[in-house]
């Protein structure tokens, strides 16, 4: 999908919606700090119930966009509605309908997990009668029921993040914003956090909007927008993005490579080569091709390996550099990131 095609689809608001309403509608949203344009006229929409990811290096404008959608920053120009409310004119309404999990911890160490949740429930006006049930539900969901009475200062980094996610869900928001939900966590904790996030879809009717600069995390999203230099360069499902980049590589291990190559050539018109002892060839969608291969050919095959293009390849294709290179070169732009703690910010 090209950028031009994508822009057209958004401005006319006729994307593949399956009759679902949009949870987030963004129309030419921009944010500038003096001469520095942090977000440069982005437009997109997120469907209700979707998991939508913003993928890009630090300083690309992810956090600035999310801050505008959460009413923490006023856009320089453009419009956006979140859960049906305008982010500039209906700030309180937006705030009461969204849940927020920041990349920096925002729980109170001296309070217990339960006290942190109660504080949140009061601030968000969760009806008294439902507070208890909601607390039990969200604590259970993130596996912290046993530790509810403990002060947060005794929690590990992963437990704190889980508590933040539980708190973000407490008031039954329609849209949950997760800003770099797993940054700074070890790989095992990261995968646990993702298990919770994905299990959310089963238990809550919620739209999830997240930002990440981890390629592997973007894979969990229904759709991804790759953002670079304040602009959305491409937006689609992870599969479509990867499919758009190139073909899958299939490697077959077989005792008779010559026969396999001949069969592939005759039956499918595929020119295979032998690479490191395996018969190697490229097809559009390898996982769908392999069953056909088994069904239609009578070959002795010992092993099959399908390697798909990664989102790294996608990022490379659309921005001309890897995300790690982009991180290094955008260190300056980082200063414009409003999610960086105020201690380093100058007025």
């Amino acid at each position: 999908m090209t950028t031009a095609h994508y822009n057209h689809a958004v401005t006319t608001l006729d994307g593949p919606r399956d009759g679902r309403p949009a949870a987030v509608v963004v129309d030419r949203l921009s944010k500038s700090y003096g001469d520095l344009v942090a977000v440069d006229g982005v437009s997109f929409e997120v469907l209700a119930g979707e998991t939508f990811g913003f993928l890009g290096p630090n300083g690309a404008g992810k956090s600035t966009t999310i801050s505008m959608l959460c009413t923490l920053l006023r856009p320089t120009s453009g419009h956006a509605t979140v859960a049906g409310a305008d982010v500039v004119t209906e700030r309180s309404l937006v705030r009461s309908r969204i849940g927020l999990v920041f990349q920096d911890p925002t729980v109170d160490d001296y309070l217990t997990a339960e006290e942190n949740l109660r504080f949140h429930a009061e601030l968000y006006g969760v009806p008294k009668a439902t507070v208890k049930g909601r607390m039990d539900a969200v604590l259970g969901m993130v596996g912290l029921s046993e530790r509810r009475g403990d002060q947060v200062k005794t929690f590990s980094g992963g437990m704190r993040r889980r508590l933040e996610i539980a708190r973000g869900l407490l008031h039954s928001p329609r849209v949950l914003f997760l800003d770099e939900p797993t940054v700074g966590l070890d790989p095992q904790t990261r995968s646990h956090i993702w298990a919770y996030i994905t299990s959310l879809k089963a238990s809550e009717e919620i739209t999830i909007f997240l930002t990440t600069h981890y390629m592997d995390e973007a894979e969990y999203c229904d759709r991804i927008a790759i953002i670079d230099g304040g602009k959305i360069v491409v937006l689609d499902t992870p599969e479509a993005l990867k499919a758009g980049v190139g073909q899958d590589r299939v490697e077959l291990g077989t005792p008779d490579p010559e026969a396999a190559m001949a069969a592939l050539r005759d039956h499918f018109g595929i020119a295979a080569t032998i690479s490191e002892g395996s018969v190697t060839f490229f097809v559009d969608s390898g996982e769908e091709f392999v069953p056909r291969l088994f069904g239609e050919l009578d070959l002795l095959i010992k092993s099959v390996r399908v390697a798909r293009p990664t989102l790294d390849d996608v990022f490379m294709t659309y921005t001309g550099r890897t995300i790690r290179d982009a991180e290094a070169s955008s260190a300056d732009a980082l200063r414009s990131n409003p999610f960086i703690r105020a201690g380093t910010r100058r007025r």
């Binding site: 959460c70 009413t71 923490l72 920053l73 006023r74 700030r91 309180s92 309404l93 705030r95 009461s96 309908r97 927020l100 920041f102 920096d104 911890p105 925002t106 729980v107 109170d108 160490d109 001296y110 309070l111 006290e115 109660r118 504080f119 949140h120 009061e122 601030l123 968000y124 006006g125 969760v126 009806p127 439902t130 049930g133 909601r134 539900a137 969200v138 259970g140 969901m141 596996g143 029921s145 002060q151 869900l169 008031h171 039954s172 329609r174 646990h192 298990a195 919770y196 299990s199 959310l200 089963a202 238990s203 809550e204 009717e205 409003p338 703690r341 105020a342 201690g343 910010r345 100058r346």
Partner: protein, 287 residues
Amino acid sequence: MTATGVAQPAAVRDAGGRFADDVRAVRVVWKRELIRFSRNRTRIVTALVQPVLYLFVLGTGLSAIVRSGGHFNFRTFMFPGVVGMTVLFTAMFSAISIVWDREFGFLREMLVAPVRRWALVIGKCLGGASVATIQAAIMLALAGAVGIPYAPVMIVSLLGEMILIALLLTAFGVLIASRMQRIESFQVVMQFVVLPMFFLSGAIFPLSRLPSWLGALTKFDPLTYAVDPMRRTVFEHLNVPPAIVRAFDPGVSWNGWHLPILFELGLVAVAALALLAGAVAQFSKTE
């Protein structure tokens, strides 16, 4: 790590915008300050060390020099000042904890909630003022040790004055904290604001017979108008000769006009409201 059960779809209600939402926010922010205070026993004890040292070490030391005649002890004079000092340090410390809240992120949890900023500021000020009053009340319990009777009327009047002073100082502290970006600035505030306020307030020496430059400076210190009513309240319940009262409880006068207690307390109240308004305005500016 499995999702235990399906959360029932809670009644989604759009909070925010209503006065009742803001009142609830005031209450919960206030309550958090009290919980944090009660949980930090070390802080409560530590905060007692300084006033106790001033009262019993500095006070006893100075008693040996200050020959007041009769049975009047300099520690009795210092007591209301030291109680005021406890309010000052605790209130400032509580208010400036906003900078800690910012540093450790919790401030953001409050700022993104669907409530108005004034509610958060008022909650913080009421919380800090409550904590400072409780801390100073612990100090007040030592009155008997310096020869001050536990007269109920005096205790109640002092508590009322302490609450008012605590509000003034927390509002002042929150105003400073809202402009403070880093924890390191806390020392600067202590040295350039809190300590001068303390020394110029008449908390540890009588404001009578001061050189004119120092006497003039003390009149610009808002704490002067807070410590004086407390001292006068204490002296009303002491049985000391008029000469002692003149020397140690001279009151505050403007151009020869002796300010009444209620006028002083009125000044404190007006200043507290002005600072509170300033803190709310300053706080509402931050994104």
